[in-house]
Symmetry: C2
Subunit: 313 residues, 2 copies
C-alpha cells in the first residue's frame, strides 16, 4: 500500500479498512503486502473470541457487547466467521440485519468472513483481518465463530479472551461440556437466560468447572447469564472481559497468549505455502493418475503421497 | 500386520478391528502399515456421512438407522467423530449410552474418534478408520460428525451419501440453509418432527432447494421427517439412502465421489507430512526466536514462514 493508504487505514477510514481486509481475504502476495505494511502498528487491540453452537444467539450478544463498548467511547471491530458459508463480505442474512443495527456508526466496523476453500485459508484470513482492525485503531476486536469444530477452536484460540456461548435446552450436547471447548473458555455465557432449563445448564457448567484441579492463580471462568435480545447481563459480560484482561496483564500472560497465537499462525502459513508449492510443481495429470491408482486399490494414499513428495531422506 | 491378524480383521473380529483403528489413530508409520495391508480389501462398503449441529439428535438417529440395517441382516460400522473432544475410544458419555443400546451385537462396530491435536490428523484418522471397517466387511459405514465447521464438512465429504440433520426451533441459524452445508447434503432430515416449528423448518429447506437451478438428472435431496427417539421415519431414511446409492450407480457417479474423496485424503496426507518434515528439520530454538520477533513486531508471520522454508525458487 502507499503511505497515504496506510495513513487512511491507521486513521480508521472504513473504505481503507474494507479494502485491506478484502486483500488479506484474497491471500497470496496481496495479503503478504498488507500485513508487511501494517503489522508494526498492531498490538494495541484487545481481541475477544466468541464461539458457540448455532441457535445460541451469539450474534445478538456480540452486537450488544459492541454497543456497550461504543457507549464507553471505544471503537469496535467485529469479524464474523462462518466456516460453513462460501459467501463473504456481509452476504449472510444475519449480518445484513446486524449491519442495520449498528450502521451509521463509524466507530464500529463489521466484516463477515467465509470459507474460501483454501487449505487453512479461513483461519489465516481471519487472523490477518484482526491485524488490520488492530492497526486501524479498533481497541476492541470481536471474532465470532459459528459451531464447535477444530477450525472454530483454532480461530477462537487466536484471541486474548475467549467466550463460549451456550443456550439452555439445546439437548444433551452442551457444547462447552465437551472438554475441548471448556478448555478454551475464559468466560462462559448462558444466553437466553429467560428460557427454561437455564439453571440446569448453569449447574452443569459449574459442576464441570469444579472437576478441574485447582491451581493457584489460575483463572476460573465465570458462568454468566444473559438475555441478549433485551441487553440483560451484557454489562456484566463486558466487566468480566475487563477483569480477564487485567488478570492476563497481572500474571504476565498476555505474552504467552501471543506466543500461542503467533505460533499457530506461523504453522498455518507454512503448511499452506508448502502445499501450494507442491501442487504447483506437480502437473495435474500426475495427480489424476495417482488418484486413479488409489481408486483401483493399486496403491494407497500414503504411497501416493510418497510418490508426490518423495520418501523422507 | 501378520497374515493371521489381517485374516481376523477381514473376518470382522472386533478385537482385530479395534486394534487396527487404534493404530490408524496413532498415525505415522503404524497407520501407513495398516492401510498398506488392508487397502486392497476395501471398496465394498457404502459410506454414509451424517452431520448436524449439537442438539439435533443425530446420534439417536444414527443408532436407529444402524438397528434398521441390522434387521435387514447387514453389518454396520459407526465412526462417531467429535472434533471438540480430546478423548477417543468411546470416552464420550453419549457413546457409552449408545454402546449399551447396540452392544452384544457382533454385527455392529462403534468407535469414537476425537481431536488429536495433529494438523489435519482427525480427518485422516477418520478416513483410515473407514477403510478398516470397509476391509472388515461392514457393508454400511456411518460417519457421524458434530457441528458444522469446515472439518466436519471435510469429513462428511468423504462419504458416498451425506445426510444433514436439522431440528426444528433451533433459532435463525438453520444450519443447512448455510450454502456450504446445503451443497453437501444428499438427504436432509428434520429430526424431532413432533416439535413445533417443524413445518417451518421443512418449508425453509424446501424453499432453499427450489432456489437451485434445475439440471437434468441432478439429484434433488429429499427433505425427510423423523422422530428418532421413537424410530419414526427411519425406514424412510434408509430407503432414501438406498435410492441415492442407486442413483450414484446409474449415473456413474460413484467413481467421481471416490475421486473427490481420495484427492482430499491425498492432499491432507501430503500437507501433514510436509509440515512435520519442516518442523522436525528446524530446531525449536529457531522457531521460538522467530515467534519472539513476531511478538515484538520486528517481522510478520509471512516473513517468519519465509525464513523457515525459504523464498519460493
Amino acid at each position: 500500500m502507499n503511505s497515504e493508504t496506510i495513513e487512511a487505514l491507521r486513521a480508521g477510514n472504513p473504505r481503507a479498512v474494507a479494502r485491506a481486509i478484502s486483500a488479506v481475504e484474497r491471500g497470496g502476495t496481496e495479503a503478504r503486502e498488507v500485513i508487511a505494511d501494517i503489522f508494526r502498528y498492531t498490538g494495541r487491540a484487545h481481541i475477544i473470541g466468541v464461539t458457540g453452537a448455532p441457535g445460541t444467539g451469539k450474534s445478538t450478544l456480540v452486537n450488544e457487547i459492541a454497543k456497550h463498548y461504543r457507549r464507553r467511547g471505544q471503537r469496535v471491530g467485529i469479524v464474523a466467521v462462518d466456516p460453513t458459508s462460501p459467501f463473504s463480505g456481509g452476504a449472510i442474512l444475519g449480518d445484513r440485519l446486524r449491519m442495520q443495527d449498528l450502521s451509521g456508526d463509524s466507530g464500529v466496523f463489521i466484516r463477515s468472513m467465509a470459507t474460501r476453500g483454501a487449505l487453512g485459508g479461513l483461519a489465516t484470513a481471519t487472523a490477518d483481518a484482526v491485524q488490520v482492525l488492530d492497526a486501524a485503531g479498533f481497541e476492541i476486536v470481536l471474532v465470532e465463530t459459528v459451531g464447535a469444530g477444530q477450525n472454530e477452536v483454532d480461530i477462537a484460540k487466536n484471541a486474548q479472551t475467549t467466550m463460549v456461548v451456550e443456550a439452555p435446552g439445546m439437548g444433551d450436547d452442551i457444547q462447552a461440556i465437551k472438554a475441548g471447548i471448556m478448555e478454551i473458555a475464559d468466560l462462559l455465557v448462558v444466553n437466553k437466560a429467560d428460557h427454561d432449563e437455564v439453571s440446569a445448564t448453569v449447574a452443569a457448567l459449574e459442576m464441570n468447572l469444579n472437576l478441574k484441579p485447582k491451581v493457584e492463580n489460575d483463572w476460573r471462568p465465570p458462568v454468566l447469564k444473559t438475555i441478549a435480545l433485551k441487553g440483560d447481563g451484557v454489562a456484566d459480560v463486558v466487566d468480566w472481559i475487563g477483569k480477564h484482561r487485567q488478570y492476563l496483564v497481572e500474571q504476565n500472560q498476555l505474552a504467552s497468549r501471543d506466543y500461542a497465537r503467533f505460533r499457530g499462525e506461523l504453522e498455518r502459513v507454512v503448511q499452506r505455502e508448502l502445499m501450494s508449492r507442491v501442487m504447483r510443481g506437480v502437473n495435474g495429470t500426475k495427480v489424476d493418475a495417482l488418484i486413479e491408482k488409489i481408486a483401483s486399490r493399486e496403491i494407497d494414499v500414503y504411497q501416493a503421497a510418497e510418490t508426490l513428495i518423495g520418501k523422507e531422506s
